[in-house]
Symmetry: C2
Subunit: 150 residues, 2 copies
């Protein structure tokens, strides 16, 4: 991890984050880094919400990894908070070095600091390598994740 | 649906909601309606957060169904909002009447009103009947849901 820094995302990281979202087997059709306006609007909402933490890994002043952590209050499990991880991406040329594991472990640590009773995430059923990665980190594939497009 | 009203949960509904959470194949070991204090604290947090909507179905002044909708901002999908449904429960003696479908459809409608691009939820792999229910409502089981207890 020499040369890498994990920190909260800033407005100037949004372009690099969107390029990672678009450079992906599933995200290519859904995201467009040529028009950042909708992403910058969304960034303002995320950044202003104390229950959201958009995080980047920076290498030589550029974001090369990202994830979003959302803290969700709930009644179940004696009023437990849960941490939810979304949009985990590592730039292709920085994969295989343990960066993703460090990033996810950071989100687990932050969830623990905030008093969460569990951390959850979903991963597309086609992302087989990602599933092995999460299981190595201790996650249990106990649920089916359903989506409905509006 | 005669006699049923869907509305936001109030503090006085918390006891009935927790009894539904505890009266469940998976929740029985995790929730305890005899001590409402942690639940009432959590209710205050949920109720104060504009991105949360804890909803109940009321029949004769008692909550007999519940779910929680969380609106999550994100960068992916051109800065889309997503609606997330958690903690869906219908009291045993009110099942089979279409109440659950009405409740979930209400959360889908609310997500659409708030501009969400998708609605998501996870369901324990053992809840086979629930999976058929969500598929009938149009949800696609495209993801694996991972949990890590802290």
């Amino acid at each position: 991890m020499t040369g890498y820094t994990i920190r909260r995302a800033r407005r100037e990281d949004v372009g690099a984050i969107v390029r990672m979202l678009a450079d992906d087997q599933l995200g290519a059709a859904r995201d467009d880094p040529d028009d950042l306006r909708p992403y910058l609007r969304a960034f303002e909402d995320i950044d202003a919400d104390p229950n959201q933490a958009l995080v980047v890994v920076v290498f030589r002043d550029e974001a090369v990894g990202t994830l979003q952590l959302t803290i969700i209050p709930g009644l179940a499990r004696r009023g437990a908070l849960r941490g939810q991880i979304e949009a985990v991406r590592i730039r292709a040329d920085h994969r295989g070095s343990g960066l993703g594991a460090d990033l996810v472990r950071g989100a687990i640590d932050e969830s623990r600091r905030r008093g969460c009773a569990l951390v959850q995430l979903t991963s597309d059923v086609s992302r087989v390598a990602a599933h092995r990665f999460y299981e190595r980190l201790g996650f249990v594939p106990s649920h089916t994740g359903f989506k409905l497009k509006l």
